[in-house]
């Protein structure tokens, strides 16, 4: 049954999780995602679930690893410095093929950076930020509703591929209040977690189960086979899981490419520009990995030019250029387009519109 609520994007992580049947959450306090941990601490015990405040983000991700190995739907949440600490654990989750969901409300970096919004973890999220060259699906919501929906999708995809899935949000989406339709979404059936570690007596065949993380160190002969399995899985994800949204792209001469909160800004830019008769559109990647290279390639081949807008020093633009393959001009508007030089600054529509007009003028 659907319920309409008006609340913060960060709280939608919790609603999405419980609607996906996740009742285990382990997290450590960090701004700007503290509403997430508080929500789980408050709501999970009411639902028969378990919330643990870990000793660090190293702890969070490894508590998650244990619970995921135990066969539970489990997640954690953090922001950028905590995301750094989790990389080791995510690499182990990848080799162990353990499904889990990691929510990240990005903030400014590097280092302590700021406690406010930014989009500076695109590359570490999409390239497998830890060691060993693994991949994780990265979902980028652009609204509170989408946080709620994509967290549920993330649990489905994690179980489908037995792989961690990242939901890459940001400080603005998390702190913004919006109306949301809260309901469990339906997904195709998934196989039973017959591999879960629970104690031998709980397995139908009476045989022990073990984590897959020993393929290499404990079982040297299984190492290359493990990599072949991961490689195959990553290719399947690339073939089947690309998601993006097109907005007013049909006749567009200039295409904005943006994700997260900046995509909301760019949608407004397209609305204003269209009302002035300018032919611009927006491509919003929803999966940052696998990235929608094909649509970029197709639009570039059809003569569109690109303006990548992201709240950082330039990260997603690398992927847009890979899609463009030199066929079209690719421009960049980044964190220096914010309206203030302090950490309070935001990339507002008027600045993006100004750049759009400048590029359209130049192109004529």
């Amino acid at each position: 049954m659907a319920e309409r609520v008006f609340t913060y994007g960060n709280e939608m992580v919790g609603w999405g999780a419980v609607n996906a049947g996740c009742i285990y959450f382990f997290g450590y306090p960090i701004t700007p995602q503290n509403e997430v941990t508080a929500w789980f601490a408050r709501e999970l015990p009411k639902r028969g679930g378990v919330f643990v405040q870990s000793q660090s983000e190293l702890g969070s991700i490894n508590l998650v690893q244990g619970a995921a190995a135990a066969g539970a739907r489990v997640m954690t949440s953090t922001s950028s410095p905590g995301w750094s600490l989790m990389q080791e654990g995510i690499s182990f989750l990848a080799l162990g093929e353990l499904p889990t969901v990691i929510h990240v409300a990005q903030r400014g970096g590097p280092g302590t950076g700021t406690m406010r919004h930014a989009q500076m973890d695109y590359l570490s999220a999409t390239r497998g930020g830890g060691h060993g060259g693994y991949k994780t699906i990265v979902l980028a919501p652009a609204s509170a509703q989408e946080i709620h929906d994509l967290v549920q999708l993330a649990f489905y995809l994690a179980d489908k591929y037995r792989n961690p899935v990242v939901v890459l949000s940001d400080g603005i989406l998390g702190q913004m209040r919006e109306p949301v339709k809260v309901e469990p979404l339906s997904f195709p059936p998934l196989p039973e977690k017959d591999w879960a570690i629970a104690g031998k007596a709980k397995h139908k065949d009476g045989k022990f189960r073990e984590g897959l993380g020993g393929r290499g160190m404990v079982y040297p002969a299984e190492y290359i086979g493990a990599l072949e399995g991961l490689d195959k899985k990553y290719r399947q994800m690339q073939d089947a899981e690309v998601r993006y949204e097109e907005y007013q792209v049909e006749d567009a001469e200039l295409l904005l490419v943006a994700f997260g909160y900046v995509a909301r800004v760019c949608q407004e830019v397209v609305n204003i520009a269209r009302s002035e008769g300018l032919k611009i559109g927006l491509i919003r990647p929803i999966t940052l990995w696998p990235f929608p290279y094909e649509v970029i390639k197709e639009k570039a081949a059809n003569g569109a030019r690109f303006l990548v807008v992201e709240d950082n020093l330039g990260q997603m633009i690398d992927d847009v250029r890979l899609g463009v393959e030199g066929r079209a001009e690719t421009h960049f508007l980044g964190i220096f387009a914010r309206h203030l030089t302090s950490d309070l600054g935001i990339i507002f529509p008027d600045r993006v519109l100004e750049e759009t007009k400048r590029l359209l003028e130049k192109g004529r």
Binding site: Y24, F26, V50, V52, S54, Q55, S56, L58, G59, N62, L63, V64, Q65, G66, A67, A68, A69, A70, G71, A72, V74, E88, G89, F92, G96, I197, A198, G199, K200, A201, K202, F208, R209, E210, G211, G213, G214, M217, V218, Y219, P220, A221
Partner: protein
Amino acid sequence: MVIKEKVAGPSRIWDVSRVIVPLCAGCQHGVATTLIGLVIEELGIEGRAIAVHGAGCNSLPMSGFDIDRIIGPHGRGPDLATGLKRVHPDAIVFTIQGDGDLLAIGADALMGALARGEKLTIIMYNNSNYSSTGGQMAPTTLMGQVTPTCPTGRGPDAGYPVHGAEMLAGFKTVVYSARGAVNTPANYQATKRYLKTAFQKQIDNIGLSYVEIISACPVQWHMTPLQSLKWVEKIIAEYPLGEFKNVDRIE
């Protein structure tokens, strides 16, 4: 009539013949892990026991177990064990960790489990060095002991030996803490009792239990197995054997 307990014997829960990467000649990890297997068998908990291994030589015996098991990142055993235990509170979850795994890189995970009072059993193999990487200095390395990373012998600038069993006994959440060795039949039997008590604490759901087992590492100590047994006595002189805490409830 006095019936003597079997001094050493195979355990069907852990069998060295199933271990894929062989242990070195004279390494006592096999003896220690056999004891764990025997205790699990005697307590009748093999159906709900879960082994969590850290990184290093302590992970190599994993393939010899006939129970559910998992290997985690270096030092994070207590974290994985916590996640498993929180989902399956009826399981008996224990970690097998090295001295460096638990007391150096794993200090974060250990501290977390201690602070929260997770109902786990932590078993640490103390061989006074990092064996799988070449015998480097560990928190447990003796003063004056020569290793590749303290080539002139451990001196005060590299700190002093860290006593796990005594340290953990100081935590309110720890209900059992002991240190044993497997260098003599008497020590072997005592260590078996320690392990049994530690598992019983978890079965009774009281609190965190800890057993440290001194283990010989002849290869990285550059000794014959026989010489290494002598060196174990030096380790015992620094790290006394016995029970440091045994309570029936958290006070």
